[in-house]
């Protein structure tokens, strides 16, 4: 027994030594660096940032960037999500370029672009004559028409009808209905232009041939793990200073930060909230905090289930939710509460409602007392820890006012399947969306038939207003339409907006050229790091 105790004590001592070694730092803290790059700390949330650096004689030839989720396809026509945009921004071009700092559109592959008339159903485009694909083939109007025809994103397919090719470098894009915001859609990655000849020659991988400043190195592409990129020396625009970049999946947030601290990668997104202070204390790392265009929200099924015809139930939930408690529980201390179901960064954002549906447990209790049904099933995607935490906090907050929330856990695929517009079975669910800048983008969440419409909303007035909003360029009219939509959604509690998230991008101090955006689709095309 004595021997046993001794051996146990020895092993515990060894374990403590290992833990102490793990906690100890290797380097002494150095004074803050003063090299002129952007400083750590929150940025102006309304602005995107191009990280400025100092000119150098030579730059590092290769840079590794850590990704949080896997890239499953190289083809911009097949998938539309933020994680893929990092890659698409570097490899492909779009017809137009949208600068979300100045809120202005300019030509990218298009040399000129204009509405053909004031019906807002046809855009006349002239292409730059000097653009070639990575395959060496010149860009033509046929490639543009082909790319728009094949894209699967509803951003495009909801309005795009067809393209009339006029000559090699000229075409008309024809819409199925008026949409004054469609030029913004043409600047979105869903409208990236790929080579028709390459796709026809290889339907599986031909979509990976673009016109952007970076070329995919297919030999070193490991699907779902890493994408190797080499500089496109034949690029028609400004050429990057770095010669090659690897986008690597490091899904574990702690491993990602350690890889950055260890200089195995030079940039990462989504620092674990509990590790932000550790990242900021490192002199070799610059941390960029920012408010994002992503909003978490609570969606009731407004077509079937207990919430569909029960405004009191929906309002009771709205009054019961303390948003601050919610986002602090997820560790997102930089988040801000959402009042209107709209993007804070959008032009026609409005939250001056007559009806106040903010946190008020007493009002919630009053409403709950009037309810026959005091139970609501909340579908939660277990793939995200944020959803899990939020659902438990909401369950507790509702319990305090006498409302029972039953959490139904499903994985990501299950959540998508159960909340499809045509066959939705959920009573309520938590969801989030990264909203684009143009206001009509909210149509995705409010339109009849859209699978992003997690409230399964079918409201005639909202549908009419969405149509009116994209039919005119009169700003006063558009503001009125969109304000009415926001008021309808708010007062009827179709959705409960919860909060706008914040995020953190961390990078090696000295790195510059990255375009960091509140929309999170950062552009790393011009990242460079001076040689030490």
């Amino acid at each position: 027994m004595k021997r046993m105790k001794r051996s146990l004590s020895f092993l515990l001592a060894m374990l403590m030594l290992l833990s102490l070694a793990a906690c100890g730092g290797k380097k002494d803290p150095a004074p803050p660096d003063d090299n002129g790059t952007s400083q750590p700390g929150p940025q102006d949330p309304l602005q995107s940032t191009v990280v400025q650096g100092t000119e150098a004689d030579s730059y590092r030839k290769h840079i590794d960037i850590a990704l949080t989720q896997q890239i499953t396809t190289l083809d911009p026509g097949l998938v539309s999500n933020v994680q893929h945009y990092y890659l698409f921004n570097m490899v492909y071009n779009t017809l137009l370029f949208y600068d979300n700092s100045t809120k202005e559109l300019s030509g990218e592959l298009a040399e000129t672009f204009a509405w053909a008339d004031d019906t807002y159903t046809k855009i006349h485009i002239t292409l730059r004559p000097d653009v070639v694909f990575h395959s060496g083939a010149p860009l033509t109007a046929e490639d543009v028409a082909f790319s728009l025809d094949r894209t699967t994103s509803t951003l495009v397919t909801n309005t795009y009808d067809h393209a009339d090719v006029i000559d090699e470098h000229t075409l008309d894009i024809v819409l199925s209905q008026p949409n004054v915001d469609f030029m913004y859609v043409l600047s979105h990655n869903s409208s990236a232009i790929v080579s028709k000849a390459s796709v026809e020659a290889d339907p599986d991988l031909g979509g990976a041939v673009g016109t952007g400043p970076w070329v995919i190195d297919m030999k070193n592409y490991v699907a779902g793990d890493s994408v190797a990129l080499v500089r496109n020396d034949a690029y028609w625009g400004e050429k990057p200073k770095t010669e090659s970049i690897t986008l690597r999946l490091i899904s574990n947030a702690s491993s990602r930060l350690i890889a950055l601290q260890n200089k195995e990668v030079s940039l990462m997104t989504s620092v674990n909230p509990t590790e932000v202070s550790s990242a900021k204390s490192s002199p070799d790392i610059t941390v960029h905090d920012y408010a994002t265009a992503q909003m978490y929200y609570f969606a009731f099924n407004n077509t079937s289930g207990p919430a569909a015809d029960d405004l009191k139930l929906r309002q009771a939930v709205a009054y019961a939710i303390d948003r601050e408690e919610l986002y602090l529980a997820t560790g997102d201390t930089g988040a801000s509460p959402a009042t209107s179901f709209w993007g804070w960064h959008m032009q026609y954002y409005f939250d001056d409602f007559d009806l106040d549906l903010g946190y008020d447990p007493e009002k919630a209790k009053e409403l709950v007392d009037q309810l026959d049904n005091k139970t609501l099933h909340l579908m939660v995607n277990t793939g995200s820890s944020d959803y899990r935490i939020m659902s438990q906090v909401i369950q507790e907050q509702c319990r305090r006012v006498g409302l029972e929330i039953v959490i139904d856990e499903v994985d990501s695929a299950g959540a998508t399947a159960n909340s499809k517009y045509a066959s939705a079975t959920h009573e309520a669910m938590l969801y989030s969306i990264n909203m684009n800048d143009w206001d009509s983008d909210m149509g995705r969440l409010l339109s009849v038939g859209s699978n992003t419409n997690k409230a399964v909303l079918n409201n005639e007035r909202i549908t009419e207003l969405l149509g009116l909003g994209v039919s005119t360029t009169d700003e006063a009219q558009r503001a009125a339409y969109y304000q009415e939509i926001q008021t309808l959604v708010h007062d009827n509690c179709f959705y409960i907006p919860l909060y706008y998230t914040s995020d953190t991008t961390a990078y090696e101090t000295g790195a510059s050229g990255m375009h960091l955006s509140y929309s999170r689709d950062h552009d790393y095309s011009y990242i460079c790091i001076p040689e030490a």
Binding site: R3, M4, R6, S7, L8, F10, L11, L15, L18, S19, A21, A22, C23, G24, G25, K26, Q70, T72, T73, D75, L78, V79, S80, T152, S153, T154, T157, D204, L205, V222, A223, G224, D225, S226, R248, L249, I250, S251, N252, S254, S255, I258, A259, Q261, N262, E264, G383, V410, D411, S412, A413, G414, A415, T416, A417, N418, K420, N451
Partner: protein
């Protein structure tokens, strides 16, 4: 021996049929299909065309039949998500998995066998207890915790080894191999100890000692060799397990192995990819088991003659299970 190998290969066929059918049915029962992942944005017309193309407008058994027909022709299918051949995707990840599995088992062997022998020869002593506690500690430490600790010490603080990925070759392999190897250590150490204890107490070793054979020779030449059968069995099982992929460790070290590929495919309901990965794992594990069976013969000459006499399989199973022939 040749006949035995052929028999084992034939036995693989019902296993593959059973496993693949099970995967198809289970993924069909789970909510959501791969169509929800790849065609969430599609118009109803586009969706109907895709459903028809992938066979989702027919029963799961029809899709399974289509899959098996392709498999009969040596085609593992095309991943719905990656739009690439399952065989190519699997082969792209296999070298990393083989390396990691091999290195982990090697770490486990290097640590466990000496520890097990030491524990057996010093039975009941402080060394014995310490060895067993060390082995248990290896099993008790969660891989994600140990992995992160090793990364913090050896990558971040000491800067000796890379923390993630596969690009630094051998150096990249060390930390993940230690992480998995330490977890495998407990079983192997305990097996080595108990097997050695059985042999050490046997009469022929007592005779050897009485004849004046040095203790080191008794242990190395007589005891260890006779105790090897159960140890090899455990090593084979561990190798098979690690070949299937170690998802947690692969995630912590961003290791591009088949474990992560398979789990991601499950999450995305990519039935073809999941089935392909599992079938390949079944084949790999069966090959390893076959190799283990063949190794028995080399370790214990008595078994070789049993293979030759044709009654090897039954006796072999007895030998592997009991550690005695």
């Amino acid at each position: 021996m040749g006949k035995y190998i052929v028999k084992r290969v034939i036995m693989l066929i019902p296993v593959i049929i059973g496993v693949s059918l099970l995967i198809f049915i289970m993924l069909d029962l789970a909510p959501g299909t791969v169509l929800d992942q790849i065609a969430n944005d599609y118009t109803p017309e586009q969706l109907a065309a895709l459903e028809h193309e992938l066979g989702y407008d027919r029963s799961v058994f029809y899709r399974y039949g289509m899959y098996m027909w392709d498999l009969l022709h040596g085609d593992l299918g095309t991943s719905y998500i990656y739009k690439a051949e399952v065989w190519d995707l699997y082969m792209q990840r296999l070298p990393a998995t083989l390396l990691l599995a091999g290195a982990s088992v090697l770490v486990s062997i290097v640590l466990s066998i000496p520890l097990g022998i030491l524990a057996a020869t010093k039975h009941g002593s402080l060394t014995d207890n310490a060895s067993m506690v060390a082995a248990l500690l290896g099993l008790s430490m969660p891989n994600f915790w140990l992995g992160l600790m090793l990364i913090i010490v050896f990558s971040l603080n000491l800067g000796w080894l890379p923390s993630s990925g596969f690009k630094d070759g051998f150096r990249s392999l060390i930390l993940p191999a230690i992480t998995i190897g330490t977890g495998l250590m407990a079983t192997l150490t305990r097996t080595t100890r108990s097997s050695m204890l059985d042999v050490i107490r046997s009469d022929y070793l007592r005779t050897a000692r009485a004849k004046g054979v040095p203790e080191k020779t008794v242990i190395r030449k007589h005891a260890l060799k006779n105790a090897m059968i159960p140890i090899i069995t455990v090593i084979g099982t561990q190798m098979g397990r690690t070949l299937g992929g170690s998802v947690v460790t692969e995630n912590v070290f961003s290791w591009p192995g088949v474990g992560r590929l398979t789990i991601d495919a499950v999450k995305q309901r990519d039935t073809i990819m999941v089935t392909g990965c599992i079938i390949m794992s079944v084949i790999m594990i069966s090959l390893i088991q076959l190799l283990v069976d063949i190794t028995y013969a080399f370790v214990d000459p008595r078994l070789k003659s049993q293979y030759a006499s044709g009654g090897g399989k039954r006796k072999l199973a007895r030998a592997a299970g009991g550690g005695q022939t």
